[in-house]
Amino acid sequence: MKTYKLDITAEKCPMTFVKTKIALNNMQQGDVLNVRLREGEPLENVPRSASEQGFNVLKIT
């Protein structure tokens, strides 16, 4: 089980989702991705779309 980090605070639509999804695709089951994102659209939609796709959103801080 590994933990990965991804900072998408500088990204704009659609790369916020795109970079998150590509990172998730490259991970194994049980791995954790720590995503740093901006408030507004990324904060509202990145966790939502991840959980819609069957990923487990552990914590939003």
């Binding site: 500088a10 990204e11 704009k12 639509c13 659609p14 790369m15 989702f17 795109v18 998150t20 999804k21 590509i22 695709n25 939609n45 779309s49 819609e52 796709q53 069957g54």
Partner: protein
């Protein structure tokens, strides 16, 4: 999990701005779990050429001339105020400065997200292009019937 949602885009335009819209919608949709199909036809075919610049791609004199005049993704003009190719350079500069993905970056993301690329058989025939003129991500050369079949049950856009 709910059943897969689907977005299919007919990429008709070879314009820089419209291709940016195509790849933005496509990668965004793929990233949120959509199955995405891109059907490139007419000028849109320029976007998926292996040769990104102006190059005599194609079979025959006229296709080669078109190839040089239109070029690939790097040579795409903007649909308004192109100013003989200066505007796309300004757009690229602004996009980099404002950290917005360029069509090339979006194309690379599309590849990584497993978006399906298709080329239009009829337009390829007119423009004298072959499958080997396109990037290897182009899965198949298809016609209207196959596109309708592939896009059935999802949303379809024409750009």
């Amino acid at each position: 999990m709910s059943e897969t949602k689907k977005l299919s885009i007919i990429a008709f335009s070879g314009d820089f701005d419209k291709l940016t819209a195509v790849f933005t919608l496509a990668t965004g949709a793929a990233a949120v779990g959509y199955e995405v199909n891109l059907f490139f036809t007419f000028w849109g075919l320029d976007a998926i050429k292996v040769k990104k610049g102006r190059s005599p791609v194609g079979q025959g004199f006229l296709p080669k001339l078109f190839g040089v005049m239109m070029g690939g993704l790097k040579a795409a003009p903007v649909s308004r105020l192109n100013f003989v190719g200066i505007s796309p350079k300004i757009f690229r500069y602004l996009m980099r400065k404002k950290n917005v993905a360029t069509p090339e970056e979006l194309l690379e993301a599309a590849r990584q997200l497993g978006i399906n690329f298709y080329a239009c058989e009829m337009a390829m025939h007119i423009l004298g292009l072959q499958k080997s003129d396109f990037i290897p991500e182009v899965k198949d050369v298809i016609g209207v019937a196959s596109f309708l079949n592939i896009s059935e049950g999802g949303q379809t856009l024409f750009i």
